[in-house]
Symmetry: C2
Subunit: 156 residues, 2 copies
């Protein structure tokens, strides 16, 4: 069941991020920092919304989204990750759909997902395309030389 993340989910969220197999150490730490702001300040105050797909007490995956400053109704999907043992079961699809629904409820009209252009992220890019996102823009050599930024956009 997809629901708003609570304090007890923090350890599993960080564990899933570390085990997802696609994030660098710096990215794993960034998720941790955003989580701590969310846990300590709340989503309204810090701007980061965390949701989880939970089966009993087990977190299967999570997503984190928030409003883009200086825009009228644009939100960023900062993070989405599924436990490797729970893949191919629609967890990612459910989390992304729930993020879109929540963004719509907050008056959002666009959700942006940024990811890497490397082969390592091919599954992720296909996932966004399958979910109705357009590969709207890219910046060559953004993350590092040879690692482009790919910007996926869905109008809600």
């Amino acid at each position: 069941m997809v629901t708003v993340a609570t304090e007890a989910d923090g350890i599993q969220i960080q564990d899933i991020t570390a085990r997802a197999g696609v994030f660098s150490q710096e990215e794993i730490e960034c998720v941790g920092e955003l989580w701590e702001e969310y846990r300590d300040l709340g989503a309204e105050q810090c701007g980061y919304h965390f949701i989880v797909d939970r089966d009993g007490s087990q977190v299967l995956g999570f997503a984190c989204y928030g409003r883009r400053d200086l825009t009228d109704g644009v939100f960023d999907l900062f993070w989405i990750a599924v436990d490797p043992s729970a893949r191919r079961g629609g967890v990612g699809r459910g989390l992304l759909t729930a993020s879109e629904d929540a963004v719509r409820k907050m008056g959002g009209r666009m959700l942006i997902a940024e990811t890497s252009g490397t082969a390592h992220y091919e599954f992720t890019r296909k996932f966004y395309l399958n979910m109705g996102y357009a590969a709207e823009a890219s910046i060559k050599d953004f993350y590092s030389m040879g690692d482009d930024l790919a910007i996926f956009v869905k109008r809600l």
Copy 2:
């Protein structure tokens, strides 16, 4: 002379932002928030670097740039503004060149300037093109309906 901004420049920076004629109230407040972080914490701690072009005690313009998280050597030009009375004198050009030099010194290899695609910002877009930036990507209806995001990139 272009130099690192000091506490005394704050009032003039905010005044120039307000009088520049292109920024919304929300954007003016955003500059103020970044400035306060810079003043109170310093550039290294908060990640926002402010420079000014100062003629005696008068600030002619300012720029604000900083490192983009999770990238290897990408920096954002967050703000650049010139006092309306000091335009067409090369102040903007000097501030942008100084920003690029500073970014290079910090190991940066790319500077990104995001701006609006509306007619109101045509001068700004031409300025970036003249300064050697490429109009690398855009997102339709980003800031608001009819107001696209234009992403300008310079490899340093």
